[in-house]
């Protein structure tokens, strides 16, 4: 018996239908729902700007960071957003290399999510320095102070290189994918402004066979380069912690543990956004089908169990190491003053995704939306648990303390969603949210010669 493949695009679309459907949100007047969401997101962004302006203008002391917890909301939220970005690269690059054709219709939006999440994340370490106007010191440039160079042995500097390379390469990858689609919008444009704008963005792309040949090669190369890059980025983020000598941070498990967590949280965010996009833009339901959502939910459950395994093995190693400080940190993590955050993390990340064992749950839009929100919350708490609980009680009881959470911390965390959502909503209106040129070649998958399936 032959396994039947379900079609990747529903509704027997022709090539013209694809162009029409995907360009429609760019070409029509925005819906009331979109305007409402956009105004909400923009208000949140303005609030975020005000919060950040106070943190920069008055000082980092507005946040709860103080001895002994010197890494707080900024770092926690940085790792959270950068992790979210990783799923986009995984979908666009890694699944491309594995020839997973279902990735095609999700890749563009997942990659947009990557770019905006990295932009949101990138602000945090810059602001966390406390004096962001001196942030150019992070880069090695010839100067008149010696010249005094940056310390290349520090993981924090590796992070500067990793995150800036990641931001650059994912933006370029995303843009190269967009170029042929911009040309499509330009050619369809009815008014001069749109023609000029998208004409400039399309760089004069014409789609000759020779051009496509080079284009496909570069796309493959960028996918091949992004794959080790995305693994290196979260590995290096985990080095920020693992290279220090603090119990709870100083573990060899961190790189794979962080990468799995990043993919986990990123896929949850893709599901959150995609369920909303499917509701807001009905024409996309034929492109991002329930099958796509189900596959992503399977990945969420798998990576959720991977991080669950990491939580368990951390505990085992803490006990097995025989090191009393290491043991104490983990007992304190689960049963100390911050125990509630630990159990919140375990519930959201390990227990709740188990629902996806049931096909009905995997294919239910409301269920996956709620689960993905829980995973987002859980993964923020994972970074909070790692950062704050390890710092707040280490070797000397005389230097124990708590993180003095202030409402500016809340403002920074909540406001960052304003920045992300504003960018994302603008993207949905201005850019083709499904790759037109990539969907067309997979139109026939799952259909027989006559067009039925």
């Amino acid at each position: 018996m032959m396994m039947k493949r379900s079609p990747l695009v529903l509704g027997n679309k022709t090539l013209k239908d694809v162009s029409d459907d995907i360009c429609a949100p760019v070409e029509r007047f925005p819906s009331k729902g979109w305007v409402g969401l956009f105004l909400g997101a923009k208000t949140l962004l303005l609030f975020y700007i005000a919060i950040l302006a106070s943190v920069v203008g008055i000082g980092i002391g507005l946040l709860g960071v103080n001895s002994p917890v010197f890494w707080g909301t900024m770092i926690v939220t940085f790792v959270f957003w950068i992790g979210i970005g990783h799923a986009g690269t995984l979908i666009s690059a890694v699944l491309f290399l594995f020839r997973q054709k279902w990735r095609t219709s999700v890749a563009r939006t997942a990659e947009a999510m990557t770019v905006f999440a990295v932009m949101t994340a990138g602000l945090f370490p810059l602001l966390h320095t406390g004096r962001p106007w001196l942030d150019y010191w992070l880069f090695p440039y010839p100067n008149q102070r010696g010249p005094l160079w940056v310390n290349f042995r520090s993981p924090l500097l590796w992070d500067v290189f990793a995150v800036s390379t990641y931001a650059t390469v994912s933006m370029v990858f995303w843009y190269i994918g967009l170029v042929p689609d911009f040309a499509t919008i330009k050619d369809r444009a009815k008014n001069k402004l749109r023609r000029t704008l998208y004409g400039a963005l399309s760089l004069g792309w014409r789609g000759t066979a020779r051009n496509w040949s080079h284009y496909e090669m570069v796309y493959l190369i960028l996918a091949g380069l992004s794959t080790p890059l995305v693994l290196s980025v979260h590995t290096i983020v985990s080095f920020d912690f693992a290279v220090s000598n603090l119990p709870g941070w100083h573990t060899t498990i961190f790189p794979p543990y962080f990468v799995a967590g990043a993919i986990f949280s990123g896929f949850a965010m893709v599901v959150t956004l995609m369920t909303l996009v499917r509701i807001g833009f009905k024409e996309f339901q034929n492109y991002v089908t329930l099958d796509h959502m189900e596959v992503m939910n399977k990945i969420i459950m798998t990576t959720g169990m991977l991080v669950g395994y990491a939580y368990a093995s951390e505990f085992f190693i803490a006990w097995y190491s025989g090191n009393q400080y290491e043991r104490f940190v983990f007992v304190n993590r689960a049963f100390g003053p911050y125990g509630w955050s630990y159990w919140m993390m375990v519930t959201c990340n390990v227990l709740i995704p188990q629902l996806f064992w049931f096909k009905k749950m995997r294919r239910s839009i409301p269920v996956m939306f709620v689960v993905s929100i829980f995973v987002n919350i859980g993964m923020w708490f994972e970074r909070f648990v790692i950062t704050v609980t390890s710092l707040h009680r280490d070797f000397l009881p005389s230097s124990w303390g708590m993180y003095a959470w202030s409402w500016f911390d809340t403002g920074v965390l909540v406001g960052s969603f304003g920045m992300f959502l504003t960018l994302f909503l603008l993207y949905l209106r201005l850019f083709p949210a499904v790759s037109i040129a990539e969907v067309k070649p997979v139109l026939h998958v799952g259909y027989d010669e006559k067009g039925g399936h």
Partner: protein, 173 residues
């Protein structure tokens, strides 16, 4: 602009027809013709006789340059120009420099590949002539420039019509 040449273009509505038409055009002896589509068509490279892209060589060389730059930058700044003792580690502490070298390898290779793509495709190009606006959506075209070997408008028009072209027009590309 002088960059664009005059010639003749046939328009098709179907992927299979353009593949066949491209093969026939090539067999008729034309070498400078262009096949235009809104997405990469499987088998089009063979039909047009296009060689494998040379861009991977650029990627490799740029990657090697990036790696070398990373090594030289970390070594020269940490061990030569202003060596500082950090925690008793050696001035030239290679393992700690590997992340920097890795990131620069990727960065150089990726940006150079994209630069090579721009060069190979002649983009950015300001407002190039468009044979038919539907070519970026659902139609396909073959364009034969007038400087191609054995260019004969009447003959090409006849050949395109016989291959099922829905439209044939004299144009610039």
């Amino acid at each position: 602009m002088a960059k664009y040449t005059k010639g003749i273009a046939g328009i098709w509505d179907d992927e299979h027809m353009i593949l066949k038409a491209a093969r026939k055009t090539r067999e008729a002896g034309f070498t400078k013709f262009e096949a235009i589509s809104s997405y990469p068509i499987h088998g089009m490279e063979e039909a047009c006789g296009i060689k494998r892209s040379w861009i991977p060589y650029v990627t490799f060389v740029a990657g090697v340059v990036g790696l070398t730059c990373g090594l030289l930058l970390t070594w020269w700044t940490s061990a030569v120009n202003w060596a500082i003792n950090v925690g008793g580690k050696p001035f030239f502490s290679l393992p700690a420099f590997i992340p920097i070298m890795f990131e620069l390898t990727i960065l150089f290779a990726a940006l150079a590949s994209v630069g090579a793509l721009f060069y190979a495709c002649g983009i950015p190009r300001i407002d190039p002539p468009v044979i038919d606006p539907d070519l970026s959506s659902h139609k396909f075209a073959i364009f034969v420039p007038q400087n191609d070997v054995g260019y004969d408008e009447a003959k090409i028009e006849k050949m395109f019509k016989e291959l099922g072209a829905t439209d044939v027009k004299k144009t610039e590309y």
